[in-house]
Symmetry: C2
Subunit: 235 residues, 2 copies
DNA sequence: CGAGCGCTTGACCGGCGTCAACACCCGTGG
DNA sequence: CCACGGGTGTTGACGCCGGTCAAGCGCTCG
């Protein structure tokens, strides 16, 4: 699969300033002076669901700010099974680790159609030498990533299947519509929670029967959260 | 419990330059000029095993470089059970997240007797404004922390009990003596691997019987790794 | 309308949790 | 020196949760 569209969106300071993501993005509080230092193009890119954005250990010269959609970070075990270590959502940074290591630590695959803003690492590096603002932003992104990683371990990969699935529904609530939660294929959910897809399916059915959630669409991807409190206290 | 000793060890540039940890520590490649900017004292501290270094969500004004020993990062679930999200070893930074958030994301408890070097966040912040070297070091520490977090999820919390315990033995190999591995109380191991202590104990017994590891001490904390390859390919 | 994919549901089984007894180590005190 | 007790690790018996295998359903798309 190949990118749907690649178009130059940020042609300079003006476009950057207009970006709706600015407050979540890396360049949130850069000023005119900072932007004037940017000479390499920053691309605005869309990918279809299932597009592989980068491979595990692939060398990388870009980080991406995720503007829309969701991305899974996947590691493949020596025996060939896939483990999803985290899901990135809007405002998260794809490939942050390439800043330090020059290569990506895991495979990144679009879970939905996705819009990203692709930034050359060279820009980040040169900016962070001179701009304390981008430095603060970067620290913030690192800490959010680390916090998320720990959350995935403590919340989604601990305890019974019922508890894990419950926590995943809570984690995947929409930013704008709190009562809705979007989940994934049962197989992907299994790879996130270390459960088999049948167990995930059974558990979801039970939660619907228990009146904690209610399916919204036909494909089993969007659910309404009825009883968040019980979900959160599930053992 | 209280710290065993608190003594001022780094009284300035001279002592810092002599530190054996310099190449792993945050201040690895600072120069005279950088050190001259440090006016707040940097303390060299020891803690006994089981000492609680900081609490979850506690406000923090220090990060610590771990010079010797091991530290567990613990989160307590709503229902009161404890989950160990990671173990820090020498060269790792305790409380990195306080740099961004001003508070610690998890509880930190010494697993062994521990030596740390405690650095005020104010120093890190002022240095990183002016010294690109510390900035590079910080990025490196962040990326190592994130990588470790993902490793814990992908390696230690995925698959059968046998596989998890095997991966833990490999993860806890000594830096200097590769064939040795130090583990923890069966309960702590359970909290790391999401297993019950009886399961951990049974699995270790089986590995000894299978000839993959061999106990070195009487207390069941140190093992010799006989067959690392089979351990690593355990399903 | 039929093929194919993903989701659900059922039957069965095995691995891990639960509960309990016992072994071992070490400190303390007689 | 031994007796005792508490903490930790080990081992056993049994039950249940979740894995395995398989059949069937519903949606989507050719």
């Amino acid at each position: 699969m190949i990118p749907v569209t690649i178009r130059q969106a940020w042609k300079g300071t003006a476009d950057c300033a207009k970006c709706a993501m600015r407050e979540m993005a890396l360049f949130a509080d850069l000023n005119e002076d900072d932007f004037s230092q940017i000479h390499t193009p920053i691309d605005d890119i869309s990918y279809h669901a299932d597009y592989r954005i980068h491979a595990e250990r692939q060398k990388g010269e870009f980080v991406m700010t995720l503007r829309r959609g969701m991305v899974k970070l996947v590691r493949t075990t020596p025996d060939g099974r896939e483990r999803i270590v985290r899901v990135l959502r809007q405002g998260d940074v794809i490939g942050l680790e390439a800043l330090a290591l020059g290569q990506y630590g895991s495979e990144a695959v679009a879970l939905t159609d996705v819009m990203v803003c692709r930034i050359p690492i060279s820009i980040i590096k040169s900016l962070s030498l001179n701009s304390p603002r981008i430095h603060t932003r970067l620290t913030e992104k690192w800490s959010v990533a680390l916090q998320n990683a720990d959350d995935w371990l403590a919340d989604l990969n601990f305890g019974s299947a019922y508890r894990r699935v419950a926590q995943l529904f809570l984690k995947m609530r929409h930013f704008d519509r709190n009562e809705l939660s979007t989940v994934f294929s049962r197989e992907d959910m299994g790879a996130m929670l270390d459960l088999k897809l049948e167990t995930v399916s059974r558990t979801i059915s039970k939660m619907v029967a228990d009146g904690l959630i209610r399916p919204v669409d036909k494909s089993g991807r969007i659910y309404e959260i009825i009883d968040a409190n019980t979900l959160n206290n599930a053992i």
